[in-house]
Symmetry: C2
């Protein structure tokens, strides 16, 4: 493979350029004609399909159903909850004309669907019998990005799911917020093999309109934090303006309790950044569109026939056992070219088979994650490959878990805080709870409070900024 | 069930009002705040999910992959193929602002994605090695409807899929057009149980920008035709303005040959109209979100316990055998209320079980399509129900096949044509091929040429309008 076809910069030296090259050259996505928008090519979209199908199954198991909402929201409806509207207003795309006709009440392209969904819910919900109502929507949201855009991480339209639920009690709604966050964590850790920290957002960082926001945050190789998904407790903040009420069993009318939550294709951005290397993408087996690529090796026509036949058999038995295997039988490329091509595309496991292997009734396995080569006997094919794939999945996850641990440091001195932040660390530091300190630290260092972790072993101390009393440590980092 | 909860008009007497009531009361969809837009409730969306998953599987089996395109298309790009733009322009929604900023080159909300997809394809396709390229997109399209709107049939945003393929030869592209039309026909006939006529559209009725359009048309109960899906041969009409070229094996650069095709949630509209009755929706088992509803019947607490236990067992064994069964154990409603409720929602088969049935080790089955009641012994449960479901699917299809046959009449006299059209017939009549005759007939009767059938047994005759020579009969009808 020539230099230009492969990735031409190293991940360490030019992370940003490396990222863009992987996105484009692994054929995940491409830039659309409108700035800030991207197109997903089939290889990239199939990663989304895989994530979607895992998450969808988990949501259905827990009693959620899917629905469809149109993309257009009248301005009058979007502005009904004031803080929510103020938060989204600067990034809304406005439709003002249909054909030649000017539209009276301008139409927003959905930046998120709380307002539209709840105007419907208020019609559908009459009594306790209609609750809980738990609907999820797979769609896109549009938010005009002013800052520099980046495929999957910051685009003006993005694929996501948004869930919107309604409950009779506060307790049940708060339980739902946590159920969803746990499902998200499971998907990210078990499918994407990325370790995350879960907890609450501060008042400053919460979703506009929510009572509170829970989040999961991951660390990227450059030490910056990436928000991987959020689950919001809305309390009655929307049910009151949108009149989402129900008659309870005692015949008393109450406002309902609500939640909303979402994850987006940003998860694919995380996947690229966290696992990729100088050769390109590295995919965990559970989200890889192709888990095993079989590359036949031959130099004569007589070898070709028998090698190809065996290679086909291998792909067939793997496919029969639900392992996604692909035979690269392209005649116009050398095995070496193919190796590099599939490495760039991040296929977790390569099978090589040539005449010498055939003579020994074996194949050669090459792992994408650590480049290790092993032999596998024909008669152990399926179980052998299943076991290697499981091992790849597990060790990719463990690697991110260790990385997160190594890069998270407890710091209570502000000078050390600043120097460690420059090294790309997550800083677990005491904070008094005052938004002024949060803003001051941001101003001085560029670090946000990413998350107030649920899992918090810290003891009472002094705020890293004002030295006032602090109950617990929170995680500071610069963010994407 | 009170009159107001059930459907209050008969399908025969007020077809339009009946349709709307079924959509709303069976909880398929509801009106969104913007005129012409609808929201899909979970019950309606799950029918779409079922259709989508059948079609998606068939597309993947035939080598198609999915991708994602953004919803915004710059006006300069949309207008690149002139006739295409002229066709869609009057119904385009235009985005003119993002936040407070005015956008220079206005952005269209996708009315269809040929222009955007092909501007990308021209970057991706370099040589014969990149062909065929066969990508499908599951998304929505937006076309501002000026005429009166109707859920699923005529809405300003609709769920659909749009496929866009590129081929090295004309023959291969034309073959693709037919492959897709056959897949569509299979889905509609085998899943939705609706008989269709396939063939070509006339020049007047073809897709703007296509060389020709193939279509499948179904007859609705009022005798009007509904276009159920189209598959277009684009020739090189788009590859030339969009520069979709490839280097062939002889190192010669050629413009590629293209197709595009789509079906939408209009299919759900057809499903409602064709199969529904005065009690509401009637769903064919293969697209029903719930195939079997089990209604326990008891009048005492002691009966309740044992009946519910058996009912649960039944649902479990059906579910284990991939039959979608649901136990209606709501205590606050009578069995009679539940019967009507599930009939309105079109569940194909009802299972009733009470103490008397238990004593005889049997259940009672009630078919939704023909109301027939039969007993089934416990020990025949799964095979018995599977067989009834298959029979329902088959007989619903046969019914539409006979109806289409009965309502299609060969007519060569224009006076008979007019009187038969008033009776709500499909008319198979000779046409000379001149667009002026087609327009004249439309003007005089309101009938379009719906389709020039592939399966045409007619012989040479005289045009029904001008009496000039005609090669074959075409199907005239009024349309939705």
């Amino acid at each position: 493979m020539s230099k230009e076809i492969g990735i031409t910069v190293s991940k360490k030296e030019n992370f940003s350029e490396w990222y863009t090259q992987v996105v484009i050259k692994a054929e995940l996505a491409d830039y659309a004609p409108v700035k800030g928008l991207i197109v997903l090519r089939p290889y990239g979209y199939s990663i989304w399909e895989s994530l979607k199908s895992s998450l969808d199954a988990k949501l259905k198991e827990t009693g959620h159903e899917n629905g469809f909402l149109p993309i257009l929201i009248p301005e009058s409806l979007l502005s009904k909850e004031a803080s929510h509207f103020a938060g989204f207003n600067p990034e809304v795309f406005w439709v003002t004309h249909s054909g030649e006709t000017e539209i009276g009440d301008r139409l927003a392209l959905r930046p998120t669907s709380e307002t539209l969904a709840y105007s419907m819910y208020s019609k559908w919900i009459k009594s306790w019998r209609d609750l809980p109502l738990k609907i999820n929507f797979w769609n896109t949201a549009l938010r005009a990005e002013i800052k520099s855009t980046k495929p999957f991480l910051r685009t003006s339209e993005f694929l996501w799911q948004e869930g919107h639920t309604v409950h009779a009690t506060k307790e049940e709604a708060e339980q739902e917020v946590m159920t969803i966050l746990e499902i998200y964590k499971k998907i990210v850790e078990e499918e994407l093999a990325i370790s995350v920290i879960t907890g609450k957002k501060t008042e400053k960082e919460k979703f506009v309109g929510a009572v509170y926001t829970t989040t999961m945050e991951a660390i990227m190789p450059d030490g910056k934090a990436l928000q991987m998904g959020t689950s919001h407790f809305l309390g009655q903040n929307f049910s009151k303006p949108f009149d989402v009420k129900f008659l309870d069993k005692d015949n008393v009318e109450n406002f309902a309790w609500q939640t909303s939550w979402g994850v987006s294709w940003r998860l694919i951005g995380a996947l690229i950044m966290v696992h990729g290397d100088d050769k390109g993408l590295v995919l965990p087996p559970r989200v890889a569109p192709i888990q095993v690529v079989v590359v036949p090796i031959y130099y004569s026509e007589s070898d070709k026939e028998q090698v190809l036949k065996k290679a086909q058999e291998i792909v067939q038995s793997l496919s029969k056992n639900k392992i996604m295997a692909y035979l690269d039988s392209r005649d116009e490329f050398t095995p070496g070219y193919k190796f590099h091509d599939w490495e760039m595309k991040g296929v977790p496991l390569r099978v090589e088979i040539g005449p010498k292997d055939m003579a020994k009734s074996k194949i050669v396995l090459v792992r994408r994650d650590n480049q290790k080569k092993t032999d596998l006997m024909f008669d152990k094919l399926v179980q052998g490959i299943e076991s290697v794939l499981n091992d790849i999945q597990q060790s990719m996850f463990e690697k991110t878990k260790s990385f997160l641990k190594e890069k998270t440091k407890s710091v209570s001195d502000f000078d050390i805080f600043k120097s460690e932040l420059e090294k790309g660390m997550f800083l677990s530091s005491p904070w008094c709870g005052d938004q002024k300190c949060e803003e001051k630290i941001k101003e001085l260092t560029g670090a946000d409070i990413r998350v107030i972790p649920f899992d918090n072993n810290s003891t009472a101390s002094k705020c890293i900024n004002c030295k006032g009393p602090s109950k617990e440590n929170v995680i500071f980092a610069r963010g994407y």
